[in-house]
């Protein structure tokens, strides 16, 4: 088992820098999710840890060994690819055994390890099939099996579930989590799906345009997003952003209404409010002119604009709400649920 340390990591293709000075410390046995929009450099970062991409500058260590110049095979890692990358001409058994065979492990031990992994993943009855004779979910398991048998120090996952249907994805997500906890292997998991990231990760690294926006537990990211980007990316439906002016903690919205924040910011700010934190309240300061309701069953999403402005706003209300389209409804928010960001830098302004 091992920790992973990334120090001042830079990746450039020619003159184009795609990862900028990434720092991160991953503890032994942790599952870290790297999350961010398409093209932000998630795969690149993961592949640098795997040794499939060269490191432009900076340092990666696994355990206490710097691995910058080690071949992937010498880093004691295993990787699960998005398209599984199973060898099509080998049976499931051979696919799982291939890496062990190259490492000249005895036949008996290979057999035993393959059988153990197959038991864990419940793919025992497919061992003699070719990958093309398996369903997507089964292939996914084989790809995991191939990683497990190696008994590596680190698991790397690059969007391993994105080829599965929604239901299977939820199921496999849980299984990956259980498996990782049971084996206690340090893991890095790449996804662009924020729900997957929230449910799976001990900690999340949010990447945007090659910069680390925030690195913390899911709850930290939800409660105290460090930037506008993180605030908008984490949580569903995503946070409402309203331009406002702060004068010593009093936040004045575009329509003149004001709410009291918990800090002493001054000047132009962006106020962030999560839809689920808007509470229907006859005397609330936030007036919303309602355009439409979306019924989700357990709750109702109300879409509207801040009355008197054209700032879109969404509120999540408990139960069924149907009446009121075209009317103006009032809401209030607890001061601790107001997120204040600097309007120009997008950085969170702390209390």
């Amino acid at each position: 088992m091992a920790s992973i340390t990334m120090k001042d990591l830079v990746k450039a293709y020619g003159d184009v820098e795609v990862l900028h000075h990434v720092e991160g410390e991953i503890e032994d046995g942790e599952l870290i999710v790297i999350v961010g929009p398409s093209g932000c450099g998630k795969s690149t970062l993961l592949r640098m840890v795997a040794g499939l991409e060269t490191i432009t500058s900076g340092e990666i260590s696994i355990g206490d060994k710097v691995v910058n110049n080690l071949e992937p095979a010498d880093r004691d890692i295993a990787m699960v690819f998005q398209n599984y990358a199973l060898y099509p001409h080998m049976s499931v058994r051979e696919n799982m055994a291939y890496g062990l065979k190259i490492r000249k492990i005895s036949k008996d031990e290979i057999d035993q390890r393959v059988r153990e992994a197959a038991d864990i993943l419940e793919i025992g009855q497919y061992l003699d099939r070719k990958p093309r004779q398996l369903s997507g979910g089964q292939r996914q398991r084989v790809a995991m099996g191939r990683a497990i048998v190696r008994n590596p120090q680190v698991f790397l996952f690059d969007e391993p579930l994105s080829n599965l249907d929604a239901k299977l994805r939820v199921q496999m997500r849980l299984e990956i989590r259980k498996l990782q906890q049971r084996l206690g292997v340090t893991s890095i998991y790449v996804t662009h799906d924020q729900v997957e990231a929230m449910t799976l990760g001990d900690r999340l690294m949010v990447l945007n345009g090659g910069y680390v926006e925030q690195f913390g537990t899911p709850i930290e990211l939800y409660d105290r997003p460090a930037t506008l980007f993180v605030a908008g990316f984490i949580g569903s439906p995503s946070m409402n952003f309203l331009p406002a002016t702060a004068t010593n903690g009093l936040l004045t919205l575009g329509n003149g209404a004001s709410v009291t924040g918990a800090n002493h910011a001054n000047g132009a700010i962006t106020l962030g409010i999560r839809p689920e934190h808007l509470v229907h309240d006859e005397n609330g300061p936030i007036k919303i002119s309602v355009q439409m309701f979306e019924q989700l069953g357990a709750n109702t999403l109300m879409h509207g604009v801040l009355d008197g402005t054209d700032n879109d706003i969404v509120a999540s209300m408990p139960g069924h709400v149907t009446a009121g389209e075209g009317s103006v409804m009032s809401f209030s928010v607890e001061a601790s649920n107001l997120h204040v960001f600097d309007a120009t830098s997008g950085k969170r302004i702390e209390e």
Partner: protein, 283 residues
């Protein structure tokens, strides 16, 4: 198309049967000619039905001196020469083009694309164009009248290199990456992954190259002077001219018949893989 129209069915069958006749008739005549005695073959209406001399002709052609009155090698010897040449050409071509495609696709080295285009340009230089310099080189190396001389000048193949390059390009990068993580070095990856994945393409190419090698005419004609080294395709032509008397059709046709057998055998044996190799896209 699933249609059930009797007239259309009949027409299409008629067309197919007509096609088969056109293709098969010369072969039938060859066969018939190989079963008659020499005299019968010189008489006016050529026979259309087999005669009774098949085994005699067969024995005389394969093991005897072939044509009477000439000094040519027995046909089994020619078959052997042709077989050696065709096999060396096809295996050589496949081995070399697999390796060069491997280098071009998977390794980064200076002037990589330069080398690729260099190989590509040789497409414009078939043996016929470079025949004199090639002859000179082969003669200087003392490879006249040898299997090496017959095959080596024909072995480099831009077409096959190009084809394997395309095949390798369709294999996803992740295959290489996951092999690297599994600890496979370049040669191991080549042998354990690339070759099995190109299996059907190799088979298809083998069929084509074997027939290409088997049918070589000009080159063997040029560099073999000893009767022991002649190949069957060139000898058939020589048989027609060699004898002073009129051509001995029964022997010549029997030789032609024998010359057909190995390519037919290769095609039949490789048929399944061959078709897969040409149609399969699933990697």
């Amino acid at each position: 198309m699933i249609e059930n129209r009797p007239i259309l069915n009949m027409v299409s069958h008629a067309v197919l049967i007509f096609g088969v006749i056109i293709v098969a008739l010369p072969i039938w005549i060859t066969f018939v000619a190989a079963t008659h005695d020499p005299v019968r073959m010189t008489q006016a209406p050529i026979p259309m039905l087999p005669g009774g001399y098949f085994w005699e002709n067969f024995k005389q052609t394969l093991f005897g001196g072939g044509l009477s009155g000439t000094e040519s090698a027995p046909v089994w010897r020619m078959l052997l020469n042709s077989l050696m040449m065709a096999l060396m050409i096809s295996f050589g071509k496949i081995a070399i083009s697999l390796l060069s495609a491997f280098a071009i696709v998977y390794f980064k080295f200076p002037f990589r694309m330069g080398f690729f285009w260099l190989i590509f340009i040789t497409l414009m230089l078939p043996v016929e164009v470079r025949i004199l310099p090639t002859f000179e080189v082969v003669a200087d190396l003392g490879m006249l009248n040898s299997y090496w001389g017959l095959s080596i000048p024909l072995i480099a193949s831009a077409t096959a290199t190009f084809m394997f390059r395309q095949v390798f390009l369709t294999i996803p990068d992740e295959m290489l990456e996951s092999a690297r993580i599994d600890g496979a070095g370049p040669l191991r990856f080549f042998w354990d992954i690339l070759i099995p994945l190109s299996r059907t393409n190799i088979a298809a190419l083998f069929v084509i190259l074997f027939i290409y090698g088997w049918n070589q005419y000009l080159w063997p004609l040029l560099i073999t002077t000893e009767t022991d080294m002649t190949t069957i395709v060139m000898s058939i032509k020589q048989m027609l001219e060699a004898a002073e008397q009129s051509p001995q059709w029964n022997i010549i046709m029997m030789t032609a018949l024998l010359a057909m057998i190995p390519p037919v055998f290769v095609v039949v044996a490789m048929q399944r893989l061959f078709v897969q190799g040409l149609t399969e896209t699933d990697k």
